[in-house]
């Protein structure tokens, strides 16, 4: 946190958690999907479900999925914009259990057929946390270029990824590993200090045992 968080951000109201945070979740989810969103099923939990409509959380999320920023004055009109861009969306209520009260689950399909399931929470002051990707735990803020690698739980995959990052002179800020069972599905979430080149991501995707690579770039589209 710094003084730009005290005076700022410039944002469309009414709520940093329910509006600005929701835009950010949508925006980061779109970037993680890696292409324009064609279809979005959106499941609101807890306080998002109870007070989301009055806070414009629904419009904010769609605005984010369209790639708008938190201060974009088109946010209140995002539904119209979505129709223009042929983004089909549906809202549902859900009980995700013991999670943050401002949590949402997104099932996204891209225009070229990519798909992604995300669970994210708006944790206050416009800051967010991605808590799950494609059913596996994740835990990152979207404030760094972030590499998410889904792989089989086998020896060597972490080395492959970290050596690649080392070769490209990319410093790792944080790194987390999760798996659903021994030898089952595993995920590594790596927040980096520099952007990962797109060619390196394609290289990773081709490695045996790597099932899916998702990358959050902070560079503007």
């Amino acid at each position: 946190m710094n003084i730009a968080d005290i005076i700022g951000p410039i944002m469309v109201g009414p709520s940093s958690s329910h509006t600005a945070g929701a835009v950010k979740i949508g925006r980061i989810s779109k970037k993680l999907l890696g292409e324009e969103v064609a279809k979005a099923d959106i499941y609101f939990h807890g306080s998002f479900l109870a007070t989301g409509k009055g806070h414009g959380t629904d419009k904010a999320l769609i605005a984010g999925l369209l790639g708008l920023s938190v201060d974009d004055e088109r946010i209140p009109k995002s539904f119209i914009l979505a129709t223009e861009k042929e983004l089909e969306f549906h809202f549902f209520g859900i009980d995700l259990g013991e999670v943050h009260p401002n949590t949402v689950k997104l099932n996204l399909t891209g225009i070229h057929g990519k798909s992604l399931e995300i669970i994210a929470a708006s944790i206050g002051g416009g800051r967010i946390k991605i808590t799950q990707i494609d059913g596996l735990t994740a835990n990152f803020s979207g404030d760094y270029p972030t590499l998410v690698v889904h792989n089989l739980d086998q020896p060597g995959h972490v080395t492959e990824v970290t050596s690649m990052l080392g070769h490209k002179s990319i410093n790792i800020a944080t790194m987390q590993l999760y798996r659903d069972s021994r030898g089952g599905n595993a995920v590594m979430v790596i927040e980096c200090d520099q952007e990962v080149p797109i060619a390196s991501i394609h290289w990773l995707e081709k490695l045996e045992g790597i099932k899916k690579v998702t990358y959050l770039s902070l560079e503007e589209d």
Partner: protein, 290 residues
Amino acid sequence: MYKAMEDILREAKEHQLEFWEVVQMDDCKERDISKEESFLQMKKMYEAMKHADEAYDKELISASTLCGQDGEKMKQAKEKGNLLCGDFIGTVMEKALKMGESNACMKRIVAAPTAGSCGVLPAVLLALQEKEGISEEEIVKALYVAAGIGGVIASRAFLAGASGGCQAEIGSASAMAAGAVTYLKKGTPEQISDSSALALKGLLGLACDPVAGLVEVPCVKRNVIGAVNALTSSDMACAGIESKIPADEVFDAMKSIGRSLPTAIKETGEGGLAATPTGLKYKETLEQDF
């Protein structure tokens, strides 16, 4: 960010700096940016506030229909000369309502420190600028003063209603605005600190009890009390009236009070005004509509 007003005051004294300069230097160090870049970013915040004030739409009503159009009513009453509080306070009230309403109606605002309390700082700064012809540069410096105070409060306590009740939002905004005004009135760094203490002391314990959980009732009108309270606190400090409890200890008191407050009055929409028969009736109607 500084963790104590005492530290800012000491830095200012030791290096013969103004309060705002101490805050700016810290910002440059923390974010690794130049003074020019830091100043430019702060100026952008001021410009966004000014633009938001000018962009107020007197026809707008929030999605819930619970708020809108009150800023315009205030303006008309002022123009008719009907206000006991006079033209200047009338303008402050008008601007605070307008910004709070713009926020509720999904217009672009500057969270300062939060979206719910976004009307307090611009109301006093823009009204004072209009009244006394203060330069843009001075207003930006006053924003640094406000940011410095808000930073200390964030470090020692909290700024979110969900964490500490409305005292953490409107209370903090009021303390920040009081310090900013005291700077513009050529108060000393000690008077800046005292005015922020006086402002927050007046709002300690304030519940966050929004009707139907929306940032509308009572949030919009609480921006008025935050703004006016900032002015009276600054006037007191500039008159030489001291806060008997130093600012840092007032911020700590806010934290301990915030922790003691039940969750029903910390932005859950379950207690206080939200739980009144009328508050519940609004909530029910909204649930049917949505």
